[in-house]
Structure formats: C-alpha cells, structure tokens
Amino acid sequence: MRDFKPEDVIGDYKEALLALYGGLSRLVLYTDIEIPYPDGKLIVSTTDKNGIITHVNKAFVEMSGYTEDELIGSPHSILRHPDMPSVAFKDLWDTVNKGEYWQGIVKNLRKDGGYYWVKATVIPNIRNNEVVSYTSVRRKPSRTKVEDAKRLYATLK
C-alpha cells in the first residue's frame, strides 16, 4: 500500500506512521477536515479473508476519495485513520474470525487527508458452512455515538 503524497492532500496536514496488520507500515498525512456522511447512503465493500478489498460500491469510492482501481486489491486498512486505536481493529478481526458480526463507530481516512465517521457493521459471508469473505456496510452514525467514540478512542491510544 502506497504512502500518502502531499500533492493529494487538501489543507494543512500532520504526519503519522501507522503500524498495520501483517507487519506493514504506512506514512499517512491527515487534516482536520471532516466530510459529513451523506444522508440516505450506504457504503458497501467486500474483502477476502485476508482483508483485501474485492468489491466496492459507488458511495465507497465517493467518500474515500480513491478510484475503484486504487481500492480493489488494497487492504481495507487503506482507510485507517491514526486516531483509531489498533485495539478496535483487533476486536473486529477476533470477532469476525469467530464467524460473528462486528459493529462499531469508525473514523475513516480519505485519500485527501480528510476524514469521515461511520457506523460500520462487518459480517462474515458463509457459503457451505465456511467463511469465504467479509462484507462491510457503513451507515451514517449519530453525533452522540461519534462523540462517545471520540472519548473512548482517546483513552485507548
């Protein structure tokens, strides 16, 4: 996965080096610009069992700022924001690997350095009694839930 490029970022930015699953690391540039989650839309994506994106819908492309070609084949952690504690994603993977669904409030990082909050639900896709992939559906979170998440995540970093 590519590091961020300053020319892609809009506005004043900070830098962070993220330690990602599988020993990967990524330099990200991020700003304080929040993009409001659009009313009435769902962001949908599917990943393989290793978290590599295999399908995205139009809303995913629009909100992430990446092209579909950039997203397909990338790890889902392409959206990882430095304000998200790694323990949240560990909990996500531990849960779905057991064949259960995971739900949580997530701050996602856009290609332009901005961010957007989502309520994410990740479910394992089971075919013939076997987990073959994961589907993630994101919807608009309430501001109350976002404020609760901000407070919680600040204590988990």
Partner: protein, 248 residues
C-alpha cells in the same frame, strides 16, 4: 394440484391486475397450472411460506434470507432498473428539516413493508432514534402514512420511494422529503421453490425473453416493468448478506 404463486404484499395497487395477467401468461407459456394467491399482509404470507405452501414468489428482499436458507428457494430474475428505496417525509409545515432535528418520543407512521421499515429506521438512527424511544403508528398503505402526516398525527412517515413518488401532486405539495435513500442494491425478485425447481431454466428463459415479443411486452407493461434480468445465486447471497448486516 396447481403450483402456488404469490407476490410480496407491498405490491403497488395499480399493478394488482398486472400480476393476474402475468400469471395467466406464465401458465400458458409453461403449460402448467399455477394458482396466484395475493396476501394482504406479510405475516399471513410468511405463515404459508413456512408451511411449504408457496412454489413461486415475487419476494420482498427482507424475506430472501428465509426463502433461500430455510426453504431452499433460488433466485430467478429481478425487474430491470427497479430497486427498493425509502423516503423519510414530514408535513410541509413541519419545523423538521433534518433527521438530527428529531428527538425521542416522536411518532413514526410506517407500513408493515419490512425492508422499507428497516431502511427507514436505519436513516432515523442517525438522529439516535430507534424502536425503543419512538412511537410507531402502523398503517395498512402508504396513502395512510401520508394521511397521518397531513393530520398531524405523526411527526415523520416512512415511505417506499416509488409509493411516495406515486402520491398525487396535491398530497405531495403538503409533504416534504427530508431523506431519500440511495442504496440501489436492495430489490424485489422472483424466486422459485423446490417443487418447481425442475422448471427453473424454462421459466428463466421465458422471463428474460419477455421483452422480445409484443405479448411479453404488454404483460411487462401491466406490471410496470421494462424487462426481467437474471439474478445469479451469488448476487442473491450478496443481498442477503447486506440485509443481514443492516438487520443487526
């Protein structure tokens, strides 16, 4: 004993006769006796499905998981360009302009259409609203949802977008949309049960070919559809996964 066909009870009243025309056409083309039974509520229809009393169904996406996973149904086709979208609307004179303006205790007018009710509640969730902190007013039809708003009995109404768009201009002028969903991947579809499964390919061929002849086009028109598109098993599984994710 004829095969049993039914249609999701949220069908548009304008197309009631269309489904009977479709069933007559299907029987003639297929050379099989098929009885069409229309149910006026989801609960009654579900009970018949549970007792293996249905062989062909134009199903609501909310019921797809049960039909596929518990009853061995398989997808056949969906109408081209038709998806289920929901609308949250208020009385035009309401001071509510955004879901965030709503607060607990509000009255929500809805029908028992399960996928639209689910989509509506998901959109209201952004305002911290759920079934535990709101009052649900159940209505038998979307026009009655509109009536609840016009009379001031309900604060918001949840509509199938197609039903809202089909309201008269006079009614719509007295209402205001605050959210319209843009999900596009949730849709009704024709599904076939185990007893009729041996005719799956024949029925599919007939459906997909309807748009290619005058008679088929007339039948499609009576349903309000342009054509049928084949639905692959995996496409249906994806929609079921999506509905599962939205239901938790």
């Amino acid at each position: 004993m004829p095969y049993q066909f039914t249609v999701s009870p949220d069908f548009s009243p304008d197309h009631l006769s269309g489904w009977y025309i479709f069933n007559t056409w299907l029987q003639k083309q297929l050379g099989e006796a098929v009885h069409l039974e229309m149910y006026d509520c989801f609960q009654t229809q579900k009970a018949v499905i549970e007792s293996n009393g249905i062989d062909l169904i134009y199903a609501n996406p909310f019921d797809a998981a049960m039909l596929v996973r518990k009853k061995g149904f398989r997808p056949l086709a969906r109408p081209v360009g038709v998806s289920d979208e929901a609308i949250i609307a208020v009385n035009a004179e309401s001071l509510i302009y955004d879901v965030a303006d709503l607060s607990s205790g509000i009255k929500i007018a809805v029908t028992d259409d399960p996928d639209i009710r689910l989509m509506g509640m998901i959109m209201l969730e952004a305002g911290d609203l759920n079934l535990n902190n709101t009052i649900i007013i159940s209505c038998d039809a979307y026009i009655l949802v509109a009536k609840q708003l016009l009379k001031g009995n309900a604060d918001v109404g949840v509509f199938l977008a197609e039903a809202y768009d089909g309201l008269s201009n006079i009614v719509k002028s007295k209402l205001r949309v605050i959210v319209r969903s843009e999900i596009s991947v949730i849709h009704h579809g024709l599904m076939i049960g185990p007893k009729l499964a041996h005719r799956k390919m024949d029925i599919l061929e007939l459906l997909v070919g309807m748009k290619n002849n005058d008679k088929g086009q007339d039948v499609l028109k009576s349903l309000g559809f342009r054509a049928w598109d084949k639905v692959e098993d995996e496409e249906m599984e994806f929609m079921i996964d999506l509905m599962d994710a939205l239901s938790v």
